[in-house]
């Protein structure tokens, strides 16, 4: 029976030719295994693309998840706003004499 484990692995795909450039996709997978016979979770996402042009150094173009970033920023702003409201009302309800 497998134990609880979390592993983060980076995978590179086979190179794709585009004109003179060679593109190699890179992904990152978070694999979570929980005790049991066959239980777990896999979260796989694209992270970057490696670009190799002839006679040039290899470039790494990151792939950002803008939707996730926007979600985190909006929810963070909501939490911060709530904390600010709580702080302001707490101060006004307990004025110092």
């Amino acid at each position: 029976m497998p134990r609880f484990s979390v592993s983060i692995k980076k995978y590179s795909g086979s190179p794709i030719q585009s004109g003179t450039m060679q593109l190699t996709p890179v992904s990152q997978a978070v694999i979570l295994r929980t005790p049991g016979q066959a239980n777990g979770l896999v979260w796989n996402r694209p992270v970057a693309i490696r670009v190799q042009a002839p006679g040039e150094e290899m470039q790494v173009v990151p792939v950002y998840d803008r939707t996730r970033l926007a979600q985190i920023l909006i929810l963070g702003a909501g939490l911060l706003g709530s904390a600010l409201i709580w702080f302001i009302f707490r101060k006004s309800s307990n004025p110092k004499i």
């Binding site: 066959a38 670009v51 939707t67 309800s93």
Partner: protein
């Protein structure tokens, strides 16, 4: 005669348990295969000099369980029982589109407006509920 029937019965039970185990192992192998790079990068689409690669985030979760044991009843003594069950879920969402052409490589993000609007409404709801609670405590 009875022994022979029981023996065959147990043999079938073992075969069924093996089949369940085999199915679980196959499912687990498919599950672990989702960690591969080809699940998030689609097959490239070529249009003239331009190459388009759609990308997506993939989330897969599953849980399986099975058990077996010996029967204890008077009539069923010597027999075996086996059972199992499981479930899983797959979620996929487009993240970006990679466009490679003579000008270079560009990554165009894909915005999921519904998710962003839902996050905004959740944040507003959270702030509004805090405001109401603080005003009622005043």
């Amino acid at each position: 005669m009875t022994d022979e029937v029981e023996f065959n019965y147990n043999k079938n039970q073992d075969q069924e348990t093996d089949a369940v185990q085999e199915t679980m192992n196959e499912t687990l192998a498919h599950f672990l295969a989702t960690a591969d790079v080809n699940t998030v990068y689609s097959q490239p689409i070529r249009k003239g000099d331009t190459l388009i690669i759609p990308t997506a985030e993939v989330l897969v979760g599953l849980g399986f369980g099975s058990s077996q044991g010996a029967m204890k009843g008077k009539e069923t003594k010597g027999g075996k029982w086996a059972g199992g069950g499981g479930g899983g879920s797959t979620h996929s969402r487009p993240v970006a589109v990679i466009v490679a052409g003579p000008e270079g490589v560009q990554v165009t993000p894909v915005f999921d407006t519904t998710k962003i609007v839902l996050a905004g409404l959740t944040a507003l709801g959270f702030m509004f509920s805090t405001l109401l609670r603080m005003r009622s405590n005043k």
